[in-house]
């Protein structure tokens, strides 16, 4: 039972937490605490909880941000060497405006600020966010064997600016509805929604009615579309060639300003081809339409890639170290709720088929390739994997559509007992392998993060993810799109065990609550688990075979 003085103490404590205690009350509280040490514990607990709640309820997960900063390998930069001194001077001078509500947020702002100044060290670039589409006017819809000058990966969203496709095929959709087909080498400027300048190379454009007036310029000609499908090339010495597949275009000299509907140009009609020389010297010619990039050329090329992967996949399935291999092909009579999915590993581990629960069948990497989507909280593929794994390679092709600040499952064991792996995209936007341990502290020391995904590849595109665990070397390696993307040494290592697990979701939150559901906001169209530690070369080959 609570005594009178307990009640009095509670009241004083409450006043103090709310900042309303006076010095008489404080002296009394001190006296009451000296009488009973439990009251002192109660006092410190209430204040600590009050601080925790303030931080916790502020919606911004500041502590996670801090974890992220702490986990950043870029903390090694010379800039951060002076960070503490910088922080100290600014804090003591109080010259910074305290724009953030809490002191913690302010401290973080200060800490992060110096990094904003150095592009390579931007912490902001590591934060989860969707593909940066601000200012974009077009998107890359499809591409094959494409290599872009100055980029290691295909671009996703395209802002106005130079676009140089060195080789391969690309299909670009401008937001006004124009579809452009590019075949490398092609060098152009995306100027605006309705204007492209072609420096060199060939493009084909399909212009819908709402985009009439779409203009392509070259060194020698301005082409204004009047509702059509056309191709244009810019060649050396100012020579341009135009072919109209459908409809009509008007050609104007390059130096004629303000071309519009009132000033008829040189019309080119359906089926006609024209060459334009430097002084707007036009002449009828015969062009082979097949010389220009087209939808069918891209489709053919993509289909060839798929075929190549199919052959590779059939060989791969014969590997003796393969434990799980799902390609999610043949979604035969897909039932809405439950479906077996064949484990292609051969010989298959005894009861190791997967069961698709929910998980709609969707388009995969290529037309004709099937994927499973995990967009709904119930979607999952259940698997059971017996045995111990001193070495383990996990790999998949996934399209993650959003980094949403929650963990997203790739493969999660139902429980998180010691030496069970949790392979997921962590809420801070990295590929992460967690390993269960007897205590949370030990488990924390076992977390292995990769580089931020969106620093390597745009979110919303198909990407290849691979993680290799090796208990002999006590190491975890991550790979994103075939490139090494993280290396972690573990304090200790033992064989991993999996048991019952899920691809694309986690069973646990359903039974326990209190955790955001971890379904993957995206799709997977190939998933594999091997009982060996593949090296960088093997991962690269896997990526090349499937890209």
């Amino acid at each position: 039972m609570k005594s009178e003085s307990d009640r009095e103490f509670a009241k004083l404590l409450d006043l103090a937490v709310n900042g309303q205690i006076d010095h008489v009350g404080l002296a009394r509280a001190e006296q009451l605490m000296q009488e009973d040490r439990q009251r002192m514990e109660c006092w410190v607990d209430h204040f600590r909880l009050d601080s925790m709640l303030s931080d916790e309820m502020d919606r911004r997960s500041i502590v996670d941000l801090v974890d992220l900063v702490a986990a950043s390998n870029e903390a090694d930069s010379p800039e951060t060497g002076t960070l503490a001194a910088w922080l100290a001077s600014h804090l003591s001078g109080r010259t910074m405006p305290w724009i953030a509500a809490t002191a913690l947020a302010a401290v973080l702002l200060l800490m992060l600020a110096p990094r904003f100044w150095t592009p390579s060290n931007s912490v902001v670039s590591q934060l989860p966010h969707r593909t940066d589409s601000s200012g974009a006017i077009a998107m890359l819809v499809q591409s094959t064997a494409d290599r872009w000058k100055g980029r290691t990966q295909s671009p996703a969203m395209l802002s106005p600016g130079r676009l140089q496709l060195e080789s391969g095929l690309a299909e670009i959709e401008i937001y006004n509805g124009v579809t452009m087909y590019l075949e490398g080498p092609v060098d152009l400027d995306l100027i605006s929604l309705d204007r492209v300048h072609l420096h060199h190379g060939k493009i084909r454009a399909v212009v819908p009615e709402q985009a009439l007036g779409f203009t392509v310029t070259t060194e020698s000609v301005q082409l204004v579309d009047r509702g059509t499908e056309f191709a244009i090339s810019a060649e050396y010495q100012g020579l341009s060639k135009v072919h109209v597949f459908d409809g009509l275009v008007d050609l104007y000299p390059i130096d004629q300003p303000d071309v519009d509907d009132d000033k008829p140009g040189h019309p080119v009609h359906q089926g006609q081809s024209v060459e334009v020389g430097p002084a707007f010297a036009t002449r009828e010619t015969e062009l082979d339409p097949d010389e220009f990039p087209s939808a069918s050329a891209i489709d053919r090329s993509v289909e060839q890639r798929r075929q190549r992967w199919v052959q590779w996949s059939q060989q791969f399935a014969k590997r003796s170290d393969l434990v799980l291999y799902f390609t999610f092909e043949n979604p035969r009579d897909h039932k809405p709720h439950r479906q077996r999915v064949d484990n292609l590993a051969s010989p298959p581990q005894e009861p190791s088929q997967g069961t698709i629960v929910g998980g709609e069948s969707m388009a995969g990497r290529w037309p004709g390739k099937n994927a499973i989507g995990f967009y709904h909280s119930a979607d999952r593929v259940r698997v059971r994997v017996p045995g111990d794994f001193p070495q383990l390679t996990l790999a998949c092709w996934a399209r993650v559509d959003e980094l949403r600040g929650a963990n997203q499952a790739l493969l999660l064991t139902d429980t998180f007992e010691p030496w069970q792996p949790h392979w997921q995209i962590a809420r801070e936007g990295v590929l992460k392998l967690g390993i269960g341990q007897p205590t949370p502290q030990e488990a924390r020391a076992m977390r292995s993060p990769s580089q931020p995904l969106n620093s390597v590849t745009p979110i919303g595109r198909w990407m290849h993810l691979a993680t290799v665990y090796d208990s002999e070397t006590k190491s975890v390696q991550h790979y994103i799109n075939g490139d090494h993307a993280g290396s972690n040494q573990l304090p200790s290592a033992k064989p991993l065990r999996i048991g019952t697990a899920e691809i694309g979701n986690w069973l646990k939150p359903r039974t326990e609550g209190g955790e955001p559901v971890r379904n993957l906001d995206g799709r997977i169209d190939e998933f594999m688990l091997l009982r060996s530690a593949l090296d960088a070369k093997a991962i690269r080959e896997m990526y090349e075979a499937g890209r």
């Binding site: 404590l13 103090a16 900042g19 205690i21 006076d22 010095h23 404080l26 001190e30 000296q34 040490r37 514990e41 410190v44 209430h46 204040f47 600590r48 909880l49 009050d50 601080s51 925790m52 709640l53 303030s54 931080d55 916790e56 309820m57 502590v63 801090v66 900063v69 702490a70 986990a71 390998n73 903390a75 090694d76 951060t80 060497g81 960070l83 503490a84 001194a85 922080l87 100290a88 003591s92 509500a101 002191a103 913690l104 401290v107 800490m111 949370p440 924390r444 993060p449 990769s450 580089q451 390597v456 991550h478 993307a485 993280g486 290396s487 972690n488 040494q489 609550g513 209190g514 955790e515």
Partner: protein, 178 residues
């Protein structure tokens, strides 16, 4: 691209990260020592500055919390000496004892925070809403009371009780883990 190797951190950056990680518990510590003072945020910044200045004396890998809380303690006592005796400060010897208890009870802070998150999830909706009004929207008790058309005292008591429940819940959860 550089791999994300956890072992390649600059020492200073690590200290900065540690400071940030410990803000919440530092603030809790300061508040319980200078209860009633509104300027806890200023004091916290001063403590941060001292921690930065002394960062080179801190050995990475040793107990940062023990080290930082010591600095916070000194800072509070230093401030106390500049006040007249009648101001809102505990006795020095009592402060020392209080800080000892507070430091020790915040040592498993990360686990406590994880437990708190789960406990918050399990709060009945009405209690959760009240906590959110107070902490997420930073509303004063007076403004919550007038919106809910209830006496401020009753809101305050309810909040106090919920905090007590949360502390109990955290302790239960951590006890279960052990």
């Amino acid at each position: 691209m550089k791999p994300g190797n956890n072992e390649q951190k600059g020492v200073d950056a690590e200290v900065v990260a540690l400071i940030a990680q410990h803000q919440s518990r530092l603030r809790g510590l300061l508040r319980c020592m200078i209860a009633g003072h509104a300027d806890v945020d200023d004091l916290l910044q001063e403590v941060n500055v001292v921690i930065c200045q002394k960062a080179d004396t801190f050995e990475i890998g040793t107990d940062f919390w023990a080290w930082a809380s010591q600095i916070a303690r000194y800072k509070v006592m230093e401030r106390g000496r500049t006040f007249a005796r009648s101001r809102l400060v505990f006795d020095d010897s009592f402060l020392d004892e209080l800080a000892e208890v507070a430091t020790q009870r915040a040592s498993g802070f990360d686990e406590q925070r994880d437990a708190l998150r789960r406990c918050l999830q399990n709060l009945p909706p009405a209690q959760r809403a009240l906590i959110e009004m107070r902490y997420a929207s930073e509303r004063t008790i007076g403004s919550i009371a007038s919106e809910m058309d209830r006496p401020a005292g009753s809101i305050r008591q309810t909040l106090y009780r919920i905090r007590g429940l949360l502390i109990q819940c955290i302790q239960n959860r951590l006890g279960d883990l052990a």
